[in-house]
Amino acid sequence: MGGSLNANHLMFLGYGALWTIGLSLIGLLGGGIAGFIIALCRISPNRIVRLLSAGYVQLIQGTPLLVIMFLTYFGLPTLGVTVSPLTAAGASLTIYVGAYLGEIWRGSIESVPKPQWEAAEGLGLSRAQRMMKVILPQAMRIATPPTVGFMVQIIKNTSLASVVGFVELARSGQIINNSLFEPFLIYTIIAVIYFALCYPISRISRRLEMRSGPARLSLGTA
């Protein structure tokens, strides 16, 4: 059965790789929006908002993404909500990525030196103005390297979407292997493609980190 690896198989893998990229972008975008809101909630002056957002982060960081995927895809239908594999995978990634990016960004906002807040306060800027015009622009510079680095984690974590039947790169490899039964060859190809997607991003992250070193120093003394 099966025959040998041919162009059609490779096309199929390429198609899977595109969905991996697509799912990563959904995770980054959805998780980015969720993370931004969570970061702001974590430093809210309102204690209840702070506690709720901290609870959310603790809960999600203490739960495997795989289980979140199971819950959304298999759990929700029992409550009467049926979701497609794409929706389940996208929603799960958004929930998961939001918790992590929220923490990364909270840390970045809090590492802007306290006197910057005071200087902005002393000039009569409102809390929203202090945030938008003074703190966030500086926090973004601090947050960029770890955020880009986390994108690598997102790409690799999309492989878990295969368990809900979503055909991304890992799942498309499984499907081909089921017919060819050449696991070593096929999973090597899959690994190489993941690496090719992740490596450039790791490099960019490394370079950003080196560039922001002195910049961060000057933030501290200014």
């Binding site: 005071e118 000039l123 009569g124 800027l125 409102s126 103005q129 500086q138 200014a222």
Partner: protein
């Protein structure tokens, strides 16, 4: 020991009455009272930990007080319902560590608050930025970033940023403590010019020579209390042994 103000004269711009403040078990301000009249320069001196910086920060409500009363112009600072942003439009504060915004040019640093708080136009704010920078001798630094300036220049730019809000009172919190003597001189010259223009000022400083030259009133704080107060002359002929010891070591 503090002077009782004349009822007939105009009301003071800043007044502290019997202000108490503790950080946990530590009593930082223990019944502090003083007043600053319009156009007056009040200098707060004292050892580290004597409460002088805390007293200054209370005026701009960076610290809340436990009891007593603080009034700045028409703002009752000690009132919990105080309009904080209105207070801060009338009070300019300059810090020891400059605290310019590193991601903005000097011009943007200066125009930010007038544009977003007072709502004046960009072009008007830029014109004003040129004026206040000229006032501190930095008109050529408009488009530079803070990190491209020396410490003294950064501090002068920070003063210009406060001036752009046209405050009624300026607070200076040890603004030369991070600078070497040469850079200290250029910052003090700017403050002297402000005093000559009639700006009402409260400053915490360790520069005794400067304090003697500029102060209309000196408040010597010791263990959270106003220990001795009077004209600049008290620095040369102190009445209390504590102040005598302080200026003896301070000079």
């Amino acid at each position: 020991m503090h002077k009782i103000s004349n009822v007939a004269s105009q009301s003071p711009v800043v007044s502290l009455r019997n202000v108490h403040k503790s950080f946990g078990p530590l009593k930082v301000l223990d019944g502090v009272s003083f007043e600053v009249d319009r156009g007056e320069v009040l200098v707060l001196i004292g050892r580290s930990g004597s409460g002088k910086s805390t007293a200054l920060r209370c005026i701009d409500r960076f610290e809340t007080i436990d009891s007593g009363e603080i009034v700045v112009g028409s703002h009752r600072v000690s009132d919990p319902k105080l309009d904080l942003r209105a207070l801060r439009q009338d009070v300019g504060i300059v810090f020891q560590s400059y605290n310019l915004f590193p991601h903005l040019t000097i011009e943007e640093n200066i125009t930010l608050a007038p544009c977003s708080v007072k709502g004046i136009s960009k072009s008007q704010a830029k014109e004003q930025a040129r004026q206040v920078l000229a006032q501190v001798g930095l008109e050529d630094k408009l488009h530079q970033y803070p990190e491209q300036l020396s410490g003294g220049q950064q501090q002068r730019a920070a003063i210009a940023r406060s001036l752009a809000m046209q405050p009624k009172v300026m607070l200076f919190d040890e603004v030369t403590s991070a600078l070497d003597p040469e850079l200290t001189g250029e910052v003090l010259k700017v403050i002297e010019a402000l005093a000559a223009d009639g700006m009402t000022m409260v400053m915490v400083t360790h520069e005794m020579g400067f304090a003697r030259g500029i102060a209309n009133r000196v408040v010597f704080m010791h263990r959270g209390k106003v220990h001795e107060t009077g004209p600049a002359a008290i620095l040369t002929s102190p009445a209390t042994p504590e102040l005598a010891q302080f200026v003896g070591t301070g000079l």
